[in-house]
């Protein structure tokens, strides 16, 4: 995490995306980005928000309190129940930004009570990186991205 984002108000974002509100709310948190879909049942541990799917790029990492940026949901119909439980255990993402609308994704976002957006004017997977600070205003349909300093980002593992 970068101090810059934690300590100072951000006068101007590095970029702004516009999308369609899926679940309302406003939140600001760090991004966790993956180009792979996420499984609910069998794919995450709802107690910690950790991705557990073998071979998944995020395996071992937790989305708890993060803005989860990903293509969408995959796997069993237990998706919403897993994220619902994660929410009750305070391990849900702070927000969902995704590209593919499915019933799993929509219901999972709804029961997570987390702001969620889709249908962006720019692909969030192409312009948001893990560690970026992101302010999601689902009511207005905006995503303000405050890029992590390039130096720090290049050198760090994507955690």
């Amino acid at each position: 995490m970068s101090d810059r984002h934690d300590t100072a108000p951000n006068p101007a974002p590095d970029l702004v995306l516009h999308g369609r509100k899926v679940v309302g709310g406003v939140v600001e948190a760090e991004a966790l980005v993956t180009h792979e879909r996420i499984s609910g049942w069998g794919g995450i541990d709802p107690r910690t928000g950790t991705v557990i799917e073998i071979g998944h790029a995020l395996r071992g990492q937790s989305f708890a309190g993060k803005v989860l940026v990903f293509p969408g949901a995959k796997g069993s119909s237990g998706w919403s129940a897993m994220f619902h439980t994660a929410r009750l255990l305070k391990a849900a993402p702070a927000a969902f930004l995704f590209n593919e609308m499915t019933t799993k994704m929509a219901l999972g976002a709804v029961v997570s009570h987390a702001p969620a957006l889709t249908d962006f004017d720019r692909d969030p997977l192409a312009c948001i990186e893990t560690g970026d600070r992101v302010r999601v205003d689902a009511e207005r349909g905006t995503v303000e991205v405050f890029k992590r300093p390039p130096a720090a980002h290049d050198g760090d593992p994507p955690a």
């Binding site: 796997g75 119909s77 919403s80 593919e100 499915t102 219901l107």
Partner: protein
């Protein structure tokens, strides 16, 4: 989202707070989807009961079973009294077989809490089918029937083979549907989303249950959440695949990809012709399935398999039909399992009653196997102690078990699995 007068009345509380919460969830969910309206459904298949310690504690501290239903089935933190279901509701599989708690490593407390929650669900009107295959125990939707089903293998069967209409619902949307007879009119409920997007040209015979599993596994990987249509160049697909074949095919395609609807030209109800299935449009992609693709699917399903010694054979994913139990019993009759191997076969409870009566259970037990219900190894994460390698005739189970439990999986035919159960060694291979 547009609501009818009846829906507005429910939303405004006419039918009490639980129905109001249900409508509230459906509106939030429908708006998330971008749906314009709700559609009436009279057929819900869902998980309702509770099998986790977390839910048990939740019940204890938050207000009993009503609290569990309010939170987990309606997304309502406020505890509302739950009225009887308005709609025919079938209970899907669970996290263990309550008839075999020890075998599944289930303690008495968990079992007792499950039984309490089963009674609660039954009292509200849930049919205690406890299976991923409600269509083999009397819930056979008809063409065009709007459903609200969970369980990917059931969803794909319902949409594709039966021509009914459902999306992959979740616990909460199904909970709301039980109380309101409504579900968002989105996705596969609507004609325009039911046409094929991908064309799969067959260049090889597809005949056995294993063949259909391999084809499904290939297709799911390729089309992901698309709608495939399968076509045989210059002719029919061949002998019409029966229920077990289509069940394995759909389950495989739903697990390697996320297929919720497929078409087979000349076979499934929305594909009288290829043109019809495509809705007059061109497919986004044309794929070919020949001997090489078949072998590649087989090899991917067997990637984790290294040791020929197996300790466990699991059959019944999706839950075995009575025909499959009969076939397994015929293969087992007069034989004994290898001393180091366990054989668990999963089926719905009602079908187990039929297997008992038809003599199959006795044959399976005399050979040393066991016929179980309500669950499976992937759902329960339960395998016999000491299992390193497992033999499976289900592509879906072979896809999930290594990922979930870190075991090695051999995928093959039912006969190869039974052979492995009796010899302790995997000797299968693609024919």
């Amino acid at each position: 989202m547009h609501l009818s007068d009846e829906e507005k009345a429910m939303y405004d509380g006419r039918d009490g707070p639980a129905v109001q919460k249900a409508m509230d969830l459906l509106v939030r969910y429908g708006e998330a989807l971008g749906a314009e309206r709700l559609v009436e459904t009279r057929n819900v298949c869902a998980t309702i009961t509770s099998t986790t310690p977390f839910q048990r504690d939740f019940a204890q501290t938050r207000g009993g079973m009503d609290a569990v239903f309010s939170e987990f089935s309606l997304d309502s933190p406020e505890v509302v009294p739950i009225p009887k279901f308005k709609v025919f509701t079938s209970h899907l599989q669970l996290g263990f077989d309550p008839g075999q708690p020890e075998r599944m490593g289930i303690d008495t407390q968990t079992l007792q809490f499950y039984e309490r929650s089963e009674r609660h669900a039954a009292g509200l009107g849930a049919q205690i089918m406890n299976t991923c295959t409600p269509y083999q125990v009397g819930n056979v939707p008809t063409r065009g029937e709007h459903c609200a089903w969970m369980e990917s293998s059931a969803v794909v069967y319902c949409n594709s083979v039966l021509g009914a209409r459902t999306n992959t619902e979740g616990r909460e949307s199904c909970g709301a549907a039980m109380l309101t007879a409504r579900i968002p009119d989105w996705g596969y409920h609507r004609d325009e989303n039911r046409h094929a997007t991908h064309l799969v040209e067959l260049d090889v015979e597809v005949e056995s249950v294993q063949d259909w599993g391999l084809l499904g596994y290939f297709i799911g990987e390729q089309v992901q959440s698309g709608v495939p249509v399968v076509h045989r160049r210059g002719g029919d697909i061949g002998r019409a695949p029966n229920l077990p074949r289509l069940k394995h095919f759909g389950a495989a395609a739903a697990s390697s990809g996320g297929v919720e609807l497929f078409h087979l030209v000349g076979i499934t109800p929305e594909a009288p012709t290829l043109e019809h299935a495509l809705g007059g449009k061109k497919p986004m992609e044309v794929l070919r399935y020949g001997p090489a693709e078949r072998r590649a699917a087989y090899e991917r399903l067997n990637t984790t398999a290294r040791e020929a010694e197996i300790q466990y054979v699991m059959l019944g994913c999706p839950h075995y039909t009575i025909e499959q139990i009969w076939e397994a019993a015929q293969l087992l009759e007069g034989r004994r399992l290898h001393a180091d191997v366990q054989l668990w076969i999963f089926t719905p409870r009602a079908i187990k009653a039929l297997a008992d009566r038809s003599g199959h259970t006795r044959i399976i037990e005399e050979a040393g196997g066991v016929l179980m219900t309500d669950s499976c190894s992937a759902m329960s994460r339960a395998v016999p102690p000491g299992t390193r390698a497992v033999a499976l005739d289900s592509a879906k189970q072979a896809h999930y078990l290594p990922a979930i439990l870190g075991v090695q999986a051999w995928f093959g035919s039912t006969a190869e699995c039974i052979e492995a159960a009796c010899t302790g060694r995997w000797q299968g291979g693609l024919k």
